[in-house]
Amino acid sequence: MSNPKLKRRSFLKLGVASAVVLAVGGGAIALMKPGLIDGKLSPAARAVMAKVGQAMLVGTLPSDPKALHASTDALLLRIDALLSGLPTFATAELDQLLGLLASAPGRRFLVGLSSSWDVATTTEVGAALQSMSASSTELRMQAYQGLHDVVCASYFSGEESWAVLAYPGPMAV
């Protein structure tokens, strides 16, 4: 579900946007916890990215629960590695975005997901992401694309993805 108050022409001004979302949700900015701690995913952000990653890569990640758990952990490690190379302003944006998505108002109004992250199914998260990807609200599309880039860049950074693609790897020189 989108909120017209979130419509904006400018870039993810999450400082302002998150305040709007939290106000809509009846909360206060102080409720929002950081998305990153020491430059890595916070526990709450790990829960968000685990579910987002599983929904975006459904059909690509293994379906067996144990193997899926291991692949998700590997994905989260690679996301941490990707974060470590980003400039400070970009990690600050992701810190805000992930903190916002992990908050209940952010999850409801920005993602459009009613279930909490820990119980949401892959189908529910997938439907929410689909709605974000073609939303009429710029902020929701920006957030979706940020998540898509982080998940795909991290997943395909791993050599495990090569088997999925049938990519033989670089030629030896």
Partner: protein
């Protein structure tokens, strides 16, 4: 372990003067004849010619000094260490992803080697609109030829890989001319890994040509060092304040400048976006409010085809065939024209650039060996609805480009997607996906045409990329129309020249590296003559 010689490690062993990062500690103060900001296409050409003229040169590069020993053909390492913002630089509204280099050699270290002269109709527009009377094909020819000889630029003589061949095949069936791309390579292994740094030193980038030449002549190179500010007094630059930076561009020490560089003359060649940003941080004079404006991107629209046969788009020369047909099907200032090429596909690039996610995407991932990604570079800067973007500064001083995608440009994206899809089907595609968040695969040209015509072309929905940033310090014969004089000197700062892609007053309509080499060759030969009285050329260094 590779047996390929590493010219950078050999140079360091010979005693090159390199400071910063893992090299010798940065000196507090350096004096020289000419300080060059950046080490990419414009900086490299400038450094070679100025050292050849006998001048004492200091080169300052924000990124690290990497070399063939480091180039493992792995995307994650390459993007994190050799691209601006880890290859995730975006425009202000996140509508366009921008690929730009950030290591010694700049974008030339990681580009795909395509080398085109400046199109004659672009030069004619500059003459007519910006008063650049001596910017003619004929006047520039010797400088372009000199650069082509120095960097071994010639049409690719090897058969194109299937990724490129299918552009030629599909175009031919439609009667559309497609030609061979000239490349700056010598002894190319045809690996296809140019975008991750050439592991065999075949690519004649600045990293292995002009920068080593300048260092052998005694130039000094500061790496992992960013010029934060130019100190400006009375219409001159008096020094530049530099700081050491970490791999992610954050300051090593927030307390203050690490190094002051004092020069008689300064050459700004940090590339479009970064060069105007430094002038903005330095409060450079900008009486006509032109600085950073008219920054152009060649916005890129894409379509992905799945072919019947293997394409293996990760291997072979990344770009060897192009078509300029759609640059000439309408007037220069009519509906936006576009140049057609293809992109090499490695796992991260493929995964990030496919719109959509989930089960449908999983099917596409499994068809990766048969995938072709065609791209259209749209020629911005020639129409009042394609005036480019504006460079701004974030609160931390880092640059941010505000580039609104207009309906005019997005109409071009639709026309380009239609043209590319038709060519892909003619070449034998079984499925074509437009680069759009609502794009789906079509199995016939008729279905693809109807689908692409129905898509809402809006920013963020339409996938737009960029690998060519130009403008922001445009050339003009009248100071009311440009930041840079026709001889490359800043209109208001007497001892500052600008020698990079930021000086182009429009986009080019062609991949920019050879244009930067050729134009900067002429500008630097003029500067060397003014500073030393000497005549110097590039080609004798070869």
């Amino acid at each position: 372990m590779s047996n390929i010689p590493d010219p950078i490690l050999e140079g360091l062993q010979r005693g090159w003067k390199v400071f910063g990062g893992k090299h010798a500690p940065l000196p507090q103060r350096i004096e020289c004849d000419v300080a060059i900001i950046g080490s990419g296409a414009g900086a490299g050409i400038s450094a070679e010619l100025l050292t050849k003229a006998g001048l004492k040169v200091v080169i300052v590069e924000e990124g690290p000094l990497k070399s063939s020993t480091d180039f493992k053909q792995r995307e994650p390492e390459a993007y994190a260490s050799m691209y601006q913002e880890s290859a995730a630089r975006k425009t202000k509204d996140k509508g366009i992803t921008i690929l730009q280099g950030r290591s010694v050699g700049g974008t030339t270290t990681i580009n795909w080697t395509s080398s085109f002269p400046t199109p004659p109709d672009t030069l004619k527009y500059w003459q007519d609109t910006f008063g650049l009377k001596d910017y003619t094909t004929e006047a520039l020819a010797p400088y372009f030829q000199d650069a082509q000889t120095r960097l071994n630029i010639a049409p690719w003589a090897v058969a194109p890989n299937e990724n490129n061949e299918l552009l030629r095949r599909g175009a031919a069936k439609l009667g559309i001319k497609a030609e061979v791309i000239p490349r700056n390579v010598k002894g190319c292994y045809n690996l296809g890994s140019c975008g991750m740094g050439c592991p065999t030193n075949a690519k004649q980038s600045m990293l292995v040509t002009t920068i080593p030449f300048a260092l052998d002549q005694g130039a000094t190179l500061l790496v992992e060092t960013r010029v934060e500010q130019l100190t400006i007094e009375g219409g001159n630059v008096v020094d530049m304040q530099c700081i050491a930076v970490k791999p992610n561009a954050a300051p090593v020490n927030a307390a203050g400048p690490a190094t002051t560089v004092v020069a008689k003359h300064y050459v700004l060649a940090g590339g479009a976006i970064n060069s105007p940003a430094l002038l903005l941080r330095s409060n450079a004079p900008d009486p006509h409010k032109l600085l950073g404006k008219r920054t152009f991107l060649h916005p890129v629209a894409i379509t992905t085809a799945i072919m019947e046969q293997s394409v293996a788009a990760w291997t072979g020369a990344p770009q060897s065939i192009y078509s300029d047909h759609f640059l000439h099907t309408q007037p220069l200032d009519g509906p936006i024209g576009f140049k057609l090429e293809v992109a090499p596909l490695h796992p991260v690039f493929f995964g990030v650039n496919l719109p959509g996610f989930g089960e449908k995407q999983a099917e596409l991932y499994r068809m990766y060996p048969n995938a072709n990604l065609m791209l259209a570079l749209m020629r911005d800067g020639f129409h009042d609805q394609a005036m480019g973007g504006k460079v701004e500064l974030r609160s931390d001083g880092s640059p941010l480009l505000d580039y609104p995608l207009t309906d005019y440009v997005l109409d071009g994206a639709r026309r380009a997607m239609l043209a590319m899809a038709q060519i892909q089907f003619e070449a034998g595609a079984k499925l074509v996906y437009p680069g759009h968040e609502m794009g789906v695969g079509s199995s016939t040209w008729a279905a693809a045409k109807a689908h692409i015509e129905s898509l809402p072309m809006k920013p963020l929905l339409t996938k737009i990329g960029c690998a060519h940033v130009m403008g922001g310090c445009g050339l003009a014969a009248d100071e009311k129309m440009g930041v840079t004089r026709p001889d490359g000197v800043h209109w208001q700062l007497n001892n500052l020249s600008i020698h990079d892609g930021s000086i182009f007053p429009t986009s080019l309509g062609a991949n920019p590296q050879l244009s930067i080499y050729g134009h900067v060759n002429r500008l630097t030969q003029g500067l060397a003559k003014r500073l030393t009285g000497k005549d110097v050329v590039l080609a004798t260094s070869n």
